[in-house]
Each structure stands twice: as C-alpha cells, then as structure tokens.
C-alpha cells in the first residue's frame, strides 16, 4: 500500500497536478493582494519548475493546464473561461506564449543536464576500468575485467578471442558452448579486416554474435564479441561508443601485457644461455677432476703394481673408489638440478623415520667422512615425518658432503633435530671457517661458485642451490646460521611434519 502511494507520488502526472494545485491554492489565498499578471508569473514559475524536473513534454502539458486554470479561476469573471477585461486577454495570450517558451527551454535544459551527467558517469566508469586494467598483471585478469564490464554496460554475454603466435584465434577463457562455423568466419573477418562483423552488420549478419576487433599498437590482437538477447533493444549510440572505448582499453592493456611477456622471455633466454655456458664449463671441470684421479690411480696400479708396497696399492684403490663415488654423487646432483629447474619435482610423501634417512645419506658418503664422526641428536618427542624421504635424504647428503668438505678432517659434525609446532627443524653444525653474513644468501644461488670464479675446493657449488630447490619443493625453508658458540656454520632446514598426525597403531 505504502509502496503504491510512493509510486504514485513519484509519477510525473502526480507532480504536475500537485505543483499546479499548489500554485492555484497560493494564488487563491493571496488573491486580494495579487494582480492577474502576478498570478500568471506564479504559474510561469510552476511551469519552469516542472520543465526542469521532468522535461519538455510535462512542461508543455503544465503550461496548457495553467492557461486553463488562469482563465477559469483567476481572470474575471471567475469560474468561466470567457474573459471580460481586454487587459486580461493580453495577459492570457502573453502567458500562453511565455509559458510555452519557458517550459520548452526548461525541458531542454533538463535533457542537457541528463546528458552531461551520463557522459560524466561513463567517463568515470571508463577511468575506473582503465585503472583496473592498468593494475592487472596477468592476461586472464585483463580478459576477466573487460568481459565483466562489457556485459554490465550493455547486457548479454561477452567473449574474447586472442590470436596465437602460430596463428589462429583461441578463446581467452572457458566457453559455455562451442562457436558455430559462421561465428568463426565473422571473428576471422573482424580480426583480419579490423572492422565490426557478425550480427547487426553486413558481414555474416546471421551470426548471433557481434564482433569487434581488438587492435593493438602494432597489430590486431584478437576480437571481442557481444551476444545480447534477440529481443533486446538495439544498442544506443552512446553505449556503442562505450563499447568501442572499452575495446580500445582492452587492446591497449593486452598489448602492454604481451610486450611485457616478450621482454621477459627474451631476458630469460639470455640468462639461460649464460647459465648454459657456465654449466658446461663447471660440469666438464667437475667430471674431469675425479676422472683424472681415477685414471691416474688405476694406471699407476697397472704399471707399477710390482714396485708398490701393499699399503700404497690399497690407497690407490681407495682413491679409485672414492672418486668414482664422487662422480656418482655429482651426476645425481645434475639430475636433481635438471628436475628442479624444469619443475619436474613432485614430492611423493610417505611416512619416514628421520634416522633412516640419515643412515641412507651417510652410507654414500663413507669415503668423504672417513674416520670422522657424525653425531646425531634427535629430541625425545621427534615424530615420524610424512614427507618425500628420498628428497630429504638428498638434502642431508648434500649438506653433510658440504660440511665435511669445508671443515678440517678431524673436526666433528653434529646433526640435531627437534620439533617446532608443525615443523621439523634439522640443524647441521660444522667447525669450518663459516661464511660471512652478507654472503649467506648468495651461496644458495645456482652456480654461485662458478660466478665467483672460486678456485678453492673442487665442486660446482650446485649442492646448496639443489638443497634449497629440494627443501622448497618439500614446503620448507633452508638458511645458514652461526655455528655453535659462534664458531663454524650451521645449516638449518625447516620442513613441515606433514600428514595427519598418527594415532598409535593397534597392537
């Protein structure tokens, strides 16, 4: 009921009636003080108000009704349309002319106001969209924003097809249904000829889609298509302009995005080339060093066996074995690095006992560790880990190998593990020279040693980069800290305990 009253109150007819009734009432109230001309001015004001608020047509209706009211209520003789005084005739004629002109002017003013406002709104919208597009960093975001805005402004569905480096237009998002062959032809025309095609045009007008080209700075990028319900009103000139403006914005954003991608790809290529050269150099060095030792030791044994005491023979044999083991580790590292670099690392978690992994890691390092002891300290409550044990073992092997390589052969190594909330914290302490604070991050980068042209111990410096890659694949972090009592180095690995924490198995 209230709703209905409100609707009536806001209708144009009601407003015209109300304003005129009010004017008539005021005129009646002050009748003795006002001349007919004054009353005419009052009605004129009313007509202007209606014109400004409601436009030309209501203003004209109001002026006719005012004229009738003026001659009926106010001009002598009252309550009669005929008028006695000649000056009242003049007043009425003047009023008729003036009110028609005023009403018309006021109405036009209203229309212009409306137009100005809608232009301002559209510009504001376009500005907002261009801002959204400017911050969109991914191609999909740009596509999503454009589709949403076009559909919001014009109604119906929007789709965007983008060209591929190897030719052909491909939808930039999931499609509800496949495009018909006629739609494809229309899209090709819009893309190839850089003009509109499809519904509402002379080219493939049978298509249900209206296609617009997306034209970038240097070339066509794709097409935008709009499909509105068949019974929808035709797009107004104003909205057609908005659509074109949106297509332009979309094209600029997509162009910018593509350019950024191309630059990134070019940079990566250069970086890859540099890395490849560095890799080749260091790999050949790392392969040759142990090979030289193996060939040297084996040939010595072959040529001089008779002349050598058994202890020397034994030592040479050990050299062959330990250097071969080093080669094996290096090849394993190369394989790991390839898997990390090419993203082929998919952890396969299973329940693991950390002590098993330590055993496995040290098994392959017997020749590196020699007589040296690896002290292992696990906290009492250290749980089973649900983790890819093979990957974690590779991390431990590399860390222990590194620690052994960079500290003196009679200093102890200590590995501790404890639980910190939902993470396991593993620390490997050595008594070596350590690494200065400002270099502790750099040593994790691939081929750091190669880049630094470091000539100290043999090795590519693959180890720590691999450790970081593996630990990150496991969802953890690795860092270098001060060693115990500030001496040496401590490598700290934090990995999630993982898995549903187990209840005790049934006995």
């Amino acid at each position: 009921m209230i709703e209905r009253l409100r609707r009536i109150a806001s209708s144009t007819l009601f407003e015209v009636m109300a304003v005129l009734l009010l004017s008539t009432a005021v005129a009646e109230l002050f009748r003795s003080a006002l001349s007919t001309a004054n009353i005419a001015l009052l009605y004129l004001t009313a007509v202007s108000v209606i014109g400004i608020r409601r436009g030309v047509r209501p203003a004209l209706v109001a002026s006719v009704v005012s004229l009738a009211a003026l001659s009926f209520f106010h001009a002598e003789p009252r309550f009669d349309f005929r008028s006695g005084h000649p000056e009242d005739w003049e007043t009425l004629v003047c009023f008729a002319l003036t009110s028609l002109v005023t009403g018309n002017l006021a109405g036009r003013f209203r229309r212009q106001l409306d137009e100005t406002r809608s232009v301002a709104e559209r510009n504001e919208r376009l500005y907002e969209i261009s801002r959204l597009l400017a911050v969109a960093s991914r191609g999909e975001e740009i596509v999503q924003v454009v589709r949403r805005e076009v559909s919001a402004a014009l109604g119906g569905e929007t789709l965007i097809l983008l060209d591929q480096p190897d030719g052909g237009l491909v939808p930039a998002h999931a499609l509800a249904a496949e495009l018909e062959p006629i739609d494809r032809s229309a899209a090709e025309v819009a893309y190839g000829k850089l003009r509109v095609a499809g519904r509402g045009t002379d080219t493939h007008g049978e298509s249900t889609w209206h296609f617009l080209p997306l034209q970038g700075d240097r070339r066509a990028l794709g097409v935008l298509a709009l499909r509105r319900p068949l019974d929808a009103r035709p797009v107004e000139a104003e909205n057609a302009r908005l659509l074109v403006a949106l297509c332009h914005l979309a094209a600029v954003a997509l162009d910018r995005h593509r350019l950024a991608e191309e630059i990134r790809a070019a940079q990566m290529l250069t970086e890859t080339e540099k890395l490849r050269t560095a890799l080749l150099l260091s790999v050949s060095h790392d392969l040759r060093t142990p090979l030289a030792s193996i060939i040297g030791a084996a040939s010595t044994l072959e040529d001089l066996r008779e002349a050598l005491p058994p202890s020397d023979q034994e030592e040479l044999l050990q050299t062959v074995l330990s250097e071969a083991a080093r080669l094996d580790r290096f090849v394993a590292n190369l394989l790991d690095m390839t898997r990390i670099e090419y993203g082929g690392l998919e952890p396969r978690p299973a329940w693991c006992d950390l002590r098993d992994l330590i055993a496995e890691a040290t098994r392959g390092l017997s020749s590196v560790l020699g007589q040296r002891k690896l002290e292992v300290e696990l906290s009492e409550d250290f749980p089973l880990l649900y983790i890819d044990g093979v990957l974690l073992e590779r991390v431990l092997e590399n860390l222990i190998d590194n620690a052994a390589k960079y500290s003196s052969t009679n200093s102890p190594l200590r590995l501790t593990a404890h639980r910190d909330g939902a993470r396991a914290v593993l620390r490997l302490f050595d008594r070596g020279p350590g690494i200065p604070h400002d270099q502790r991050e750099a040593v994790f980068t691939l081929f750091h040693r190669v880049r630094e042209a470091d000539k100290r111990a043999a090795g590519t410096g693959l180890g720590l980069a691999i450790c970081r890659g593996l630990v990150e694949a496991l969802g953890g972090e690795i860092s270098l800290e001060d060693g115990a009592d500030g001496k040496g180095l401590c490598a700290e690995v934090r990995v999630p305990l993982g898995g549903p924490r187990v209840e005790s198995p049934e006995e």
Binding site: D353, D356, E360, P505, E507
Partner: protein, 238 residues
C-alpha cells in the same frame, strides 16, 4: 651349499658389467652363464635352470619387467634385479612382479655378494619353516616365540615378534612395506606405513640397534626393510 656349484645367470647388455660380475662371482666359486639381452636371457634361463638370475632392468630389446613376468610363468628361481638410483617405484614394481631382491647401481662387489649369498641361502630349504632362525647374535625361536640377543632374552610384543620373525625368515632379503603390512596387520592396512615405522622403531630400540648405523634392520628407502646378515663389513666398500 649342498655339494653342487650354484649356477648364476647374468642378464645385462653392458659387457663391462658382465665382465666385472663374472670375475667377482667366479672368485666365490659360482658358475656363471651370461646373456646380453632379454631374448637370450629367457632362453638361457629355460635351458640351463640357474639357481639365481641377476637381471638388469634396462635391456635393449625388451623391458626387464617383462622378463620377470615371463620367467615367473614357469620358474621360481630367485631373481636379483639391478636398478638405477631414485627408481624406487621401479624397484617396488619389480618386486611385486616376482623379483626377489634388488641392488642399486652403482654398487660394490661386497654388497652384491651379500645379496647373492642371501638369495642362495634360501635355496636348499624347502617350504617347511625352520623352527629356530639365527642371524649373528640374534636367535629367533618361532614355536616358543622367544628372541635372544647374545643369549639374553628380549621381551617383544606380539606384532614386534611377528615383524622380526618375517625379517629373520628372509634374512638378507628386502621385504616390501606392503608385504610386511599385509602379513602382520592384514590386507586392509597395506598402505599404513606409519604402523611399520613405529614398530620398526620400537623393535630397533629393544634390539639396541642404532638406526643411523643399523646392525640388524636396514631401511631400503621407498621400498621396505631387510635384516642384515652378519658379514665382516656390512656396507662393503661403497
């Protein structure tokens, strides 16, 4: 070794590996037959009825896995598989197909010989389970359900005993997680490896075994466990 010399068939396409296996195995008194590809290997296996087959999984003509299934069609000869590092899935698949054990390449002679000895050790025994098993200082008396380490009685829970019994019955051989879980907890628990980890941990504790330098129970990452057979040097010169 019940008198006769054990015959070992080596199927590997690398001549250098065949040579080194021949030298190593012959030095221990085994009789060696070699084959360079799957086809020849299967023929030799049928013709000469070896006591043990050493099979490289990467063969030029056919997948080593196919060789395992084909041989298993008509023979129960122990098959020792040579597998590459980080090929855990391959190892488990080979064991599931009927391979008896594996060695990871590159391997040392000591490690290989330990496997070979363990596999041939099973040979003369028939299906009847020996009542008392011995592995170095460890004695497991199955009917009495008693375990002694250096003569001292060790108290084990039922599941711990079952676990140790299985390991010691196949001493020196790898037993997969799935096999152990199925035998001890039943088929419904085949993938509950955390049970196994917990029980192996407890068992090692009671046997005074340091998991980081195991004396008895060795972990085979991603595959299973084996009970180490006492040798002079369990890890050889790897």
């Amino acid at each position: 070794m019940s008198g006769a010399v054990a015959k070992v068939l080596v199927i590997d396409d690398e001549p250098q590996i065949r040579k080194f296996l021949r030298i190593g195995l012959e030095s221990q008194g085994y009789d060696i037959i070699s084959a360079a590809d799957a086809r020849e290997g299967i023929v030799r296996c049928a013709d000469s009825a070896p006591d043990l087959v050493i099979l490289d999984l990467g063969l030029p003509d056919r997948d080593g896995m196919e060789v395992i299934s084909e041989v298993r069609g008509w023979s129960r000869v122990p098959i020792l598989v040579l597998s590459v590092r980080s090929g855990e899935e391959e190892k488990v698949a080979a064991l599931d197909l009927g391979a008896t054990d594996f060695v990871t390449k590159p391997f040392g002679m000591a490690e290989l010989l330990a496997r070979v000895r363990a596999l041939l050790r099973d040979r003369p025994r028939d299906e009847a389970e020996a009542a008392v098993h011995t592995a170095g200082p460890l004695v497991v008396d199955v009917p009495r359900r008693e375990v002694r380490l250096d003569g001292v009685l060790i108290k084990l829970s039922r599941r711990e005993f079952d676990l140790l019994r299985l390991l010691v019955m196949h001493a020196g051989r790898v037993l997969t997680h799935r096999y152990l879980l199925r035998e001890i907890w039943g088929p419904a628990h085949e993938s509950d490896t955390q049970y196994l980890r917990v029980y192996v941990g407890q068992l090692r504790n009671k046997l005074g075994d340091d998991p980081t330098r195991p004396r008895f129970i060795e972990n085979e990452p991603g595959v299973g466990y084996r009970l180490l057979l006492p040798t002079r040097d369990p890890h050889g010169s790897k």
